[in-house]
Symmetry: C2
Subunit: 321 residues, 2 copies
């Protein structure tokens, strides 16, 4: 569960992406960090984000801000798409100002959004029909690992797409799981991960609030659970936010409303029952409905606390203010 | 999440429990392993279990088999109780042939059963009123760690109880979490752990069977998830059983029927909603009702597979037979 920054190349080595033209669409906490990793590896990076703040941060790192996505992708050999979902990816590639036709022939599109396998498959097939390559490459690891180039990436696509993507993936990821030769396969693995991640966050919140109800010291609960069989990656990561009383969004409640929605739609399509994912989605929806949709997803713990009239730790910065 | 065996003492050191008289009640996979650790540390161990097989295994290790619990505890300074639940502990101490009056005055009773805080508190208070010491000491870690003396133990009780227990805990546990000065506090931490552990096993089963429905290679799913944010201690441990098609009980389905039942009863008593624990309990009950109550708790995956007509990996030994 640790994180490790990439070693800097030695002074006499050329940077691995020197002279390569890469476009990054979506410069939020993940895309911005990935763009920084590509710049550090020597790439010429053109980027676009509808937020002018995100664009300004990107410019300060040495990137070239484009006025729209179409200008960002023109002339790029590789387009890295770090938008939120299938709809935005669809709009980017095939919408009114669709970008696919502005990409070079043979250029590679790397799609990082979490989406259903069916959507990933459809996008990949249509882009390949136009003579470009598509890599289905959802990611895991959060903003810190995006920025230091140590993401874990799930990927599926043709051998040609993997060959073209290799230097980019090396700059972005500590681990690349190669999961098949068609778009949609990596997406399916990602959705299995999101099912577990979502249930584990909600279960961690349920357990911490239950412990508070039982009058237990929450710091001791955190210490005991993280050394016991009840531990999960999400408990360890998100319950630190609860101990700190800090609900600034590292990943917002709305993300799991979206992702568990995709999981449950997949289950309906294939007649597969998912009772735990269903319950977890309802908890994220209750949290969102209570006004915490843009707060950190650990806010499910605050939902339980509100319901039961419990006092959780209060943000020290808030308390001091 | 690793396991580490205790170092053997050097030849010239006396064994730490030489000359100490300890009784162990319950010699199953956990109690039998703990008895072995105590024997290795030099204790004189008298033991009892209703199973003659368990008693015979214990005798072979050098323990003294007693014909009933009363004879096991007579003259013991310390009684280690590794029975299944509060009812058995109650029966052992205060039932028709109740043992409390056969323990030496000032002797220590260490209770390892998972039970509600209210039951642990009541047992502790009654035993202490009789002039004996009580340590509430539920454990975590499974049969392998019981046998090699590297359990993780949660413990609460008086300073006198901790003092008396110290050499025993050193022989049994890699980690002892000291969680308060009254019986019931350790039990509460254990129930928080069991809530998470139960939900995580059921979620792991839901996710693995869902992955099978999506046509994914389950060994690849295991590899990806155990390196991703969807991981849990229970996913890593129990889904190996699913990959092996091996449902021989390391911990049986019926244990989580019991433990999540205690968690939900605690929630009812304190007006606290537990939707995920409720859903997980229903899944363990469905698994038990389908005839898998004595099989490994990873059998929840087989429940999903049966519902959806899926093929999970088949036990190699079974396949060869």
């Amino acid at each position: 569960m640790g994180m490790s920054a990439k070693k800097a190349p030695r002074a006499h080595e050329p940077l691995p992406l020197t002279g390569r033209n890469v476009a990054v669409i979506g410069l939020g906490s993940m895309g911005g960090g990935m763009a920084a990793s590509l710049l550090r590896a020597g790439a010429n990076v053109r980027g676009y984000d509808p937020s002018s703040e995100a664009l300004a941060r990107f410019s300060q790192l040495g990137g070239t801000a484009a006025c729209d996505a179409r200008h960002a992708v023109e002339g790029a050999e590789i387009v890295l798409s770090v938008v939120v979902n299938a709809e935005q990816t669809e709009q980017l590639l095939f919408g009114e100002y669709g970008c696919f036709k502005h990409m070079l022939a043979g250029a590679l599109f790397i799609s990082c959004a979490t989406m259903s396998p069916a959507n990933a498959r459809s996008l990949g097939e249509r882009l390949q029909t136009s003579g470009r390559l598509y890599l289905d490459a959802p990611m895991s690891g959060g903003a810190v690992r995006a920025a230091d180039g140590s993401l874990s990436m799930l990927a599926s696509g043709s051998a040609a797409a993997f060959d073209a993507a290799a230097p980019i993936l090396a700059a972005l990821a500590g681990t690349v799981h190669r999961l098949g030769d068609t778009a949609g396969q990596a997406a399916a693995f990602k959705m299995v991960n999101q099912l577990l991640a979502g249930v584990h966050i909600a279960a961690a919140a349920e357990a911490m609030a239950f412990a508070a109800r039982e009058g237990l010291d929450l710091a001791a609960v955190y210490r005991v659970i993280t050394q016991s069989a009840g531990n999960s990656w999400m408990f360890e990561n998100r319950m630190q936010h609860v101990l700190d009383g800090d609900y600034a969004p590292r990943s917002a409640t709305s993300i799991f409303v979206k992702d568990l929605g995709i999981v449950l739609e997949m289950g309906r399509q294939s007649d597969f029952p998912l009772p735990l994912a269903t319950t977890a989605l309802q908890l994220f929806l209750m949290t969102a409905a209570s006004g915490m949709d843009r707060d950190d997803d650990a806010s499910v713990a605050r939902l339980y606390a509100q319901l039961a009239g419990l006092q959780l730790p209060i943000n020290r910065a808030d308390a001091a203010a």
